[in-house]
């Protein structure tokens, strides 16, 4: 079984840099890449009655969009480089869910982009990449 590199991916610019880094890393190590995208979701958030009614429909749309518009192109691009690639799309708290995916897939390291969100909110609430670096059970590479 070859080693697995988990790539945490979203639509940000830094995620693209992270992808490039993961490709070169996978090539040099002969590893395969697992691309993960997590849709932020809490089962304890509050919704209006209309939102409840439409939730199942919206979820299907979100999953469809995530798979076709986001993960599809990435998968194609990575496999062009001759690297074995698979994708995971999940709902949940981003950092916790990424840690779950690490355990499920048995990835030996993680590559994630440093999200370019405003530094103020990142300083107040912490960024995904920063929190992941603290919580991850395997080494994390943060790509700017």
């Amino acid at each position: 079984m070859s080693r697995k590199i988990l790539l945490g991916y979203d639509e940000s610019q830094s995620a693209k840099s992270a992808m490039a880094f993961a490709i070169s890393l996978a090539k040099s190590e002969g590893a395969e890449v697992v691309v993960a995208h997590v849709l932020e979701w809490s089962p304890y958030s509050f919704l209006t009655p209309e939102e409840l009614e439409e939730r199942h429909k919206r979820r299907k749309e979100e999953i469809h969009r995530g798979e076709t518009a986001l993960l599809g192109p990435v998968k194609e691009e990575i496999s062009k480089s001759g690297i074995a690639v698979s994708t995971v799309l999940k709902y949940g708290h981003v950092v916790e869910t990424l840690c779950d995916i690490i355990e499920e897939t048995g990835a030996s390291q993680v590559v994630i982009g440093r999200t370019g969100h405003s530094s103020l909110s990142a300083r107040l609430f912490g960024s995904v990449a920063g929190s992941l670096a603290q919580a991850s059970p395997v080494p994390v590479t943060i790509v700017p």
């Binding site: 979701w41 509050f46 919704l47 209006t48 199942h56 429909k57 979100e62 999940k90």
Partner: protein
């Protein structure tokens, strides 16, 4: 598509000021002859009186309204039939809400917690603040006892209706769901080969629309206005009405979901703040708690001089409990049916927490604070409560009733609380209106079919009733609100009697699978 929607939104935005202008015009025109508040009041009282009389008529030769007996008997039947399910399933209900039994692969779907929270934001509202004050003001402290009892029993009614709501909901191809009594009355009755399900469903829908306009709307805007005048001073009710109607209009017709979303987030915080404040007040008066409990028990069986004696206390307690937690009414079944679960019964378990939180916790807090802060005046020699001139309700320190009484009780210990309460009242009123506009709309589309124009017609009617509610006197509005909501319960409980064997089958099957370990914990 998006362009089209924006176009519609723009059109609606132009309509809003137009509507406001029309209302203003009507207001100035009638102000010459008579104040608009009085006109609305008179028309309202005279046109709804017969309906109120019908629902609240007493058993011949007694002062006991048949509708109160109807609800109590219903709740008792469900409690016995399901073997005190409200206590047996309580721990399991909490485990379900915590998500212990939720499949992680279903993340992103409506959770038990979310269905409960949304249903609660429709029920925890002014009933808990103003309604309880009305009950205690008329029925005395003893009404609290009956209110708690009704809350505990109502948990079984809620369990029954919400299980059926999920079981017989409609799931459409696009993934949206619609559920509620109108669906289980039609589909459930059909499945069991019973006649008249369709007729019951239509009746329920009519009463649901009236209930949405009454308790879910007019009562809310009425009491929000009462609390506002309490804080900023007297001004005509229709002004509050028009402002409220404008905001409701923006949300339900203009599609400004952001307002609704903010409310949905602030309302739970307000709810927790309200209960915490009540606890602080109770702690400040800790030496009085024993006395207050004594008043509640004594009043429950003697009445302590209130109008109608202990029956008066009982009626008030049951009425307010039913109006506040809506158990047996069928409204919650609409909200709960969107949950993602393979087991309808699980939502039944979760829903039984609703009357508990609403009535047994929140309502009791309000009642205790009113009693403990000594708002009700009693005769020091006899210990009996003194009645007002008409003999209809108990004298209070400042002559307050309804939400003003709660406000006075809370600010007696914590200065300035009336301002926080005013904000809470407005937010509670608003979130309840949004929930009920949805319940009413579901009943409306069940009757008339779905379609943009049909839905807009209902929503506009809903906004107009916001104005009427704020302008009308408390008396006729509360009476009509109660009558409409109880009328829903008449139809719904008939349906529940016929369909409760379905729930029993689900319950037995689930319980045996839970025991055998077939239903497992994920967390």
């Amino acid at each position: 598509m998006i362009k089209n929607r924006t176009g519609k939104l723009m059109k609606n935005m132009f309509k809003a000021p137009l509507l406001a202008a029309l209302v203003m015009l009507a207001a100035t025109a009638s102000a010459r002859a008579q104040s608009i508040d009085e006109t609305v009041n008179q028309i309202f009282a005279s046109s709804t009186g017969w309906f109120v009389t019908l629902i609240f008529s007493n058993f011949p030769g007694t002062t006991f309204p048949w509708i109160v007996a109807w609800l109590v008997i219903g709740a008792t039947v469900f409690t016995i039939y399901f073997g005190v399910i409200q206590f047996r399933a309580f721990p399991h209900a909490i485990a379900l809400v915590k998500g212990d039994y939720s499949d992680p692969n279903d993340a992103g779907e409506v959770s038990h917690f979310q269905a409960l929270a949304t249903a609660l934001s429709g029920t925890v509202g002014l009933g808990n603040i103003a309604g309880v004050a009305v009950a205690v003001g008329i029925g005395g402290p003893g009404a609290t006892f009956w209110m708690i009892l009704a809350g505990l029993m109502g948990m079984a009614s809620k369990f029954t209706e919400c299980t059926l709501g999920v079981k017989y909901r409609n799931e459409y191809a696009d993934g949206t769901v619609s559920g509620g009594p109108m669906y289980y009355l039609t589909k459930g009755f059909e499945e069991r080969g019973l006649p008249a399900g369709r007729i019951l469903a239509v009746l329920f829908s009519i009463f649901c629309i009236l209930g949405a306009l009454g308790g879910g709307n007019m009562f809310q805007s009425n009491q929000a206005h009462a609390q506002l005048t309490n804080v900023v001073g007297e001004y005509p009710g229709w002004i509050t009405g028009v402002i409220f109607a404008g905001i409701v209009f923006a949300v339900i017709i203009g599609g400004l979901k952001s307002i609704a979303r903010v409310t949905e987030k602030v309302v739970p915080i307000m709810g927790v703040l309200y209960v915490l404040t009540a606890i602080v007040i109770l702690l400040l008066n800790a030496d009085q708690i024993g006395w207050a409990l004594g008043q509640i028990f004594e009043g429950a069986f003697t009445g302590l001089g209130v109008a109608g004696g202990f029956v008066g206390a009982l009626i008030q307690g049951f009425r307010r409990a039913a109006f506040s937690n809506e158990a047996g009414v069928g409204s919650a079944a609409i909200a709960h049916s969107a949950v993602r679960t393979k087991e309808p019964i699980t939502e039944g378990f979760v829903s039984l927490l609703e009357p508990f939180i609403d009535t047994v916790v929140v309502c009791t807090m309000t009642a205790l604070v009113i009693i403990i802060t000594g708002q009700l005046i009693s005769d020091p020699t006899t210990g009996l409560y003194l009645l007002n001139e008409g003999g209809t309700s108990i004298q209070t320190i400042d002559g307050n009733s309804g939400v003003a009484l709660t406000s006075a009780a809370f600010s007696a210990n914590i200065g300035g609380f009336q301002y926080i309460l005013a904000i809470a009242v407005i937010l509670f009123a608003f979130s309840t209106m949004i929930s009920w506009s949805y319940y009413g709309l579901k009943a409306w589309t069940f009757l008339f079919g779905e379609g943009v124009t049909k839905e807009i017609i209902f929503k506009v009617i809903f906004c107009i009733f916001v104005v009427i509610g704020a302008a009308a006197d408390l008396g006729p509005v509360i009476d009509f609100s109660d009558a409409a909501i109880f009328a829903m319960a008449v139809v719904n409980i008939i349906g529940l009697y016929f369909l409760m064997p379905v729930v029993k089958k689900e319950l037995n099957s689930y319980m045996s699978r839970l025991k055998s370990g077939e239903i497992k914990k994920f967390h």
